[in-house]
């Protein structure tokens, strides 16, 4: 069986997010080879009932967006359909600027975001991880958030690159002054 199918089996069995590093380790190959195989898998899932969602360095299998309405009808669980206006602001910041510290979230919003951040954490829409220097926490989108937006990676948001670039421009313009 080819690598992409083997990876599919592993992801299916795990039923949760798996890091590319762990996949590379498990199959005793390098991360670049995993990337290629994941690309193949993504392609082979087109028009199928499943989709491959990528969040940072992790991947996970989900149902395809086309099956959304169907499963919404079947599920008995209460689905989270709405986020408050402030929640949307914080989600948007984390999607486009994440990973981002709470300090920076507050700075851009001009107001303390403790309650909202905690609420989004509890709902599983964002997660807190240690920053690379291990000295502070940063926030990033979760698989759950991507899944609720029906996208398989954050770059699938409309105008993702443009928004990124715009914000960069503002930030560097400030630094120049």
């Amino acid at each position: 069986m080819i690598l992409s199918s083997n990876i599919e089996a592993v992801l299916f069995w795990k039923g949760e997010a798996v890091s590319l590093k762990d996949l590379a380790h498990f199959f005793e190959i390098d991360v670049a080879a995993v990337e290629t195989a994941l690309n193949d898998l993504g392609n082979s899932l087109e028009h199928r009932g499943l989709s491959l969602v990528r969040n940072g360095d992790e991947v996970m299998l989900y149902t395809a967006p086309e099956a959304s309405e169907l499963i919404k009808k079947l599920t008995k669980e209460e689905l989270a359909r709405e986020v408050s206006k402030a929640g949307v602001e914080v989600l948007s910041l984390i999607m486009y600027r994440g990973p981002i510290s709470k300090r920076d979230i507050d700075y851009i919003r001009g107001v303390n975001s403790n309650y909202i951040v905690r609420n989004l954490l509890v709902r599983g829409l964002i997660e807190r991880v240690e920053s690379r220097d291990n000295r502070s926490f940063i926030y990033q989108p979760t698989f759950e958030l991507l899944a609720h937006l029906g996208i398989s990676k954050k770059e699938d948001l409309p105008e993702y690159d443009i928004v990124q670039k715009d914000v960069e421009t503002f930030t560097s313009a400030q630094a120049d002054k």
Binding site: Y115, I116, L146, G150, V167, F170
Partner: protein
């Protein structure tokens, strides 16, 4: 379990400020910020029941707006590096905030419409008891840690409190500086059509005073110096 605090319909000072700017179809720059300063402050004054944390952030922004407005009326007004930094960064933050808020519309629109579903709890995986090396002690230490991390009833961050307190001083200092600058301006404007400009400045000082009173009434209830400036003949903004 409700965590959201809302201040009227605004999610924070930038949300309000941006609405004021966009309503007038302005771009974000010092000129437009100076123009919406009065509206911004009068909004704060109509809000009586601000939660403490929220009002602090609104007042912080008001302080920077006042600096921007002072500077636009009195180019001679000297500003510290920090103040200049605050003024510049307000523009930048607002610009980023505007873009992010705009981008957020897509998120709001998409959220919950098309949902990708994760697999339900697998019933086919056989459970094999595998506790690793967990002991009661681990369990105990872990629960203690959770309890220690439970957020206590939210306290207003100390930094913000300090800044709010210094806002009162800031307005006093600003008033003194404006007065000083005004004396200088008398010389500068000699021979020019000074009456008009002076009226603007006097009106502005009166506005500062009103602002100060308003903020103190709303938040501080402390003592404040009386600076009696009256300028009935020009359009002093009224906040009461």
């Amino acid at each position: 379990m409700a965590f959201e605090i809302t201040t009227e319909q605004f999610q924070g000072p930038f949300d309000l400020l941006l609405d004021l700017i966009e309503k007038r179809k302005f771009f974000i720059n010092e000129i437009s910020l100076a123009k919406v300063t009065d509206d911004f402050i009068s909004y704060i004054q109509t809000q009586e029941n601000f939660p403490m944390g929220e009002s602090a952030s609104f007042i912080l922004v008001a302080a920077t707006l006042l600096l921007i407005k002072s500077k636009s009326l009195l180019p001679h007004l000297e500003l510290t590096t920090e103040e200049q930094g605050d003024m510049k960064s307000l523009e930048t933050r607002l610009a980023i905030y505007q873009r992010i808020r705009e981008a957020g519309k897509v998120i709001e629109e998409k959220f919950g419409k098309t949902i990708l579903f994760a697999p339900a709890e697998r019933k086919f995986s056989e459970t094999v008891f595998s506790p690793g090396s967990i002991t009661s002690q681990h369990i105990f230490e872990s629960v203690k840690k959770i309890i220690a991390q439970i957020p206590k009833v939210e306290q207003l961050p100390k930094v913000v409190v300090q800044k709010v307190i210094s806002l009162e001083e800031m307005i006093e200092r600003l008033t003194i500086r404006v007065e000083k600058s005004l004396k200088m301006s008398f010389r500068d404007f000699a021979g020019h059509d000074k009456s008009e400009k002076i009226h603007v400045i006097v009106g502005f000082l009166a506005m500062l005073e009103l602002v100060k009173r308003g903020i103190i009434q709303a938040e501080q209830k402390g003592s404040f110096d009386e600076i009696e400036i009256e300028s009935p003949e020009i359009g002093v903004p009224r906040y009461t």
